[in-house]
């Protein structure tokens, strides 16, 4: 701070032309960089969309602008590939899993955030460990467990665990619930509400943004999940999800790159649409997963 006193001249820089020009140049430079990066970021998606609108012959070439436009590829891909099946499986997996995970995780997150009980710290550490440790560690025993009940080759091994909470979801919801002032809960308790009623009547309405973020993350996770479906459903093609189907499309329909890319675009489109409707909840959720201060 003493340096400020030593250099009082700098406190009011004269707004001469050179400084203004420099500032303007810096402004242009920064925005040019941003635009250049922005173009690099959208190129892959634009390229995919363009490929998906070509004829299958042209899609094999190095062209990136369609000679003729074929939006009907998006209809054909539903007719000549098992895409409808994949899409249905993915929706079933993502929707049921998200609903069940929220149902089972909200109470646990609430208990971890707002109820005092012995071992709550230890339990929270356990939740973090489950969240952090690679899923591959327990893959083989879990697979054997589901195989014993004859449930491999179906979506059940992906959906049933959602009944019992998800570590990441619990973590995220807990972080959010911590931000709700305890006074509200105390007031409800004084009014004679039991814990469950407090949760349903007081906490849930206030926690809506947090629940929305957690639900979005879970939905996106399931929609994108490749490892789970690969592990449990690969033996039965009628249970494949989009991720799994897309990854194997290439061999089955390897000539029709226009159709493969159309399916790829269809796999990402819903997520981008959802994002634009729920951008705020999303960004807030990501920030919650990070550090606080």
């Amino acid at each position: 701070m003493t340096a400020v006193l030593e250099a009082p001249v700098r406190m009011e820089p004269a707004p001469d032309r050179r400084v203004r020009r420099q500032k303007k140049l810096a402004w242009i430079a920064r925005h040019s960089i941003a635009i250049a990066i922005g173009i690099m970021f959208v190129t892959p998606v634009v390229y995919l969309v363009l490929l998906s609108l070509m004829t299958s012959d042209q899609a094999l070439t190095s062209d990136y602008w369609p000679n003729s436009w074929h939006p009907e590829n998006y209809i054909r891909v539903f007719e000549v590939t098992p895409l409808p099946r994949y899409l249905l499986n993915t929706v079933v997996y993502a929707v049921t899993s998200t609903a069940l995970v929220l149902l089972s995780s909200v109470p646990a997150a609430y208990a971890l955030a707002k109820l005092k009980f012995r071992g709550s710290n230890a339990l929270f550490l356990l939740v973090i460990c489950v969240m952090m440790l690679p899923p591959q560690v327990v893959t083989v025993p879990l697979y054997l467990m589901w195989a014993r009940y004859g449930l491999t080759g179906s979506l059940w091994p992906l959906i049933i665990p959602a009944l019992f909470g998800d570590a990441f979801c619990i973590f995220l919801l807990r972080q959010f619930l911590l931000t709700i002032p305890t006074e509200y809960l105390d007031a409800a308790r004084v009014d004679g509400c039991g814990e469950w009623r407090t949760l349903l009547r007081v906490v849930l309405p206030m926690a809506r943004p947090g629940i929305a973020a957690a639900g979005l993350f879970q939905f996106f996770y399931c929609w994108n999940d490749y490892y789970g479906p690969l592990l449990y459903t690969s033996e039965n093609e009628s249970a494949w999800t989009l991720s799994l189907g897309l990854a194997s499309f290439h061999s089955v329909h390897h000539v029709d790159w226009n159709l493969v890319t159309a399916a790829t675009v269809l796999a990402m489109a819903p997520l981008i649409v959802i994002f634009f409707f729920a951008q705020r909840a999303f960004v807030q959720g990501i920030t919650l997963t990070g550090f606080k201060g």
């Binding site: 920064r30 190095s62 109820l115 939740v127 560690v137 327990v138 089955v252």
Partner: protein, 307 residues
Amino acid sequence: MSAKVRRGLTTFSFLAPALIGIAVFFLYPLGSAVYFSFTKFDLLSVPEWVGLDNYRRMADDPFLLQSIRNTLWMVVVFVPVRIIGAIGLSMLLTQLKRGAGFFRTLFYLPALVPPVAATIAFVYLLKPGTGPVNHFLSMIGIEGPLWFNSPAWAKPSLVLLGLWAIGDLMVIFLAAVLGVPSSLYEAAELDGANAWQRFRSITLPTIRPVVLFAAVTGVIYTLQYFDQAAVAGSIASGQATVGGGISSNFGFPEGSTFTYPLWLYTVGFRYSALGYANALAIGLFVVALAVTLILLRRAKAFSGEES
């Protein structure tokens, strides 16, 4: 029933599903994995105790060595490059006076693309013969590499893919950078510090905890890096899946994309060496746990004291 017991029961009712979940889908299989790692069996046979055989086998498994090397490469390159990229983008965003919101959304969007779809897109973009990237490079007189089809370039291609999908990390850093008190910057500006000095002496020290957090979670993410490596290998090889959705082309080309979890999966589900796969899993567990403990010890805010 005393009030205390009733309260305990209520708390338990909140936690019961999660407790069952952790026990059945984590602790039990973790215990089984430890036991199985001392046995030998496949999908059709009963586990037979073999002592430390599986762990001895790890010592002379050339593919394991290669997969460890690949995963280490990813930890050393992928994690720092992503962190530097995310900090760079978030700094750029804070410097923009116009359209910061627009660019933030634009830079974030690729993170929404499903990993499998993103990988397919990149394999197409970087196709050695007809891909637009090499086409563009040849126009400016550069002969592009073989990207996903070259053992030397396959992992760097995955890094490019990871840089593209950097949005989540960028948002975390953006929140941190915006949280730096502007009074600090003003003081530094009066001192005559230039942009780089301000970044070095103010921004970086303030966001250090976030950098640590990103480094540790990045390492953990890299330890389980599977989808992109699996899909890139299968699709770049030109013959994605063969029967049962399990590719025979994991690791293509020449094992350069065989990450540790990919090798674990292959050992378990293609070679049905389930005992050995569990030994590999325990190895992964030990390393991941060590990294997690670093995070938990260093990060008070992460374990979440009520503020």
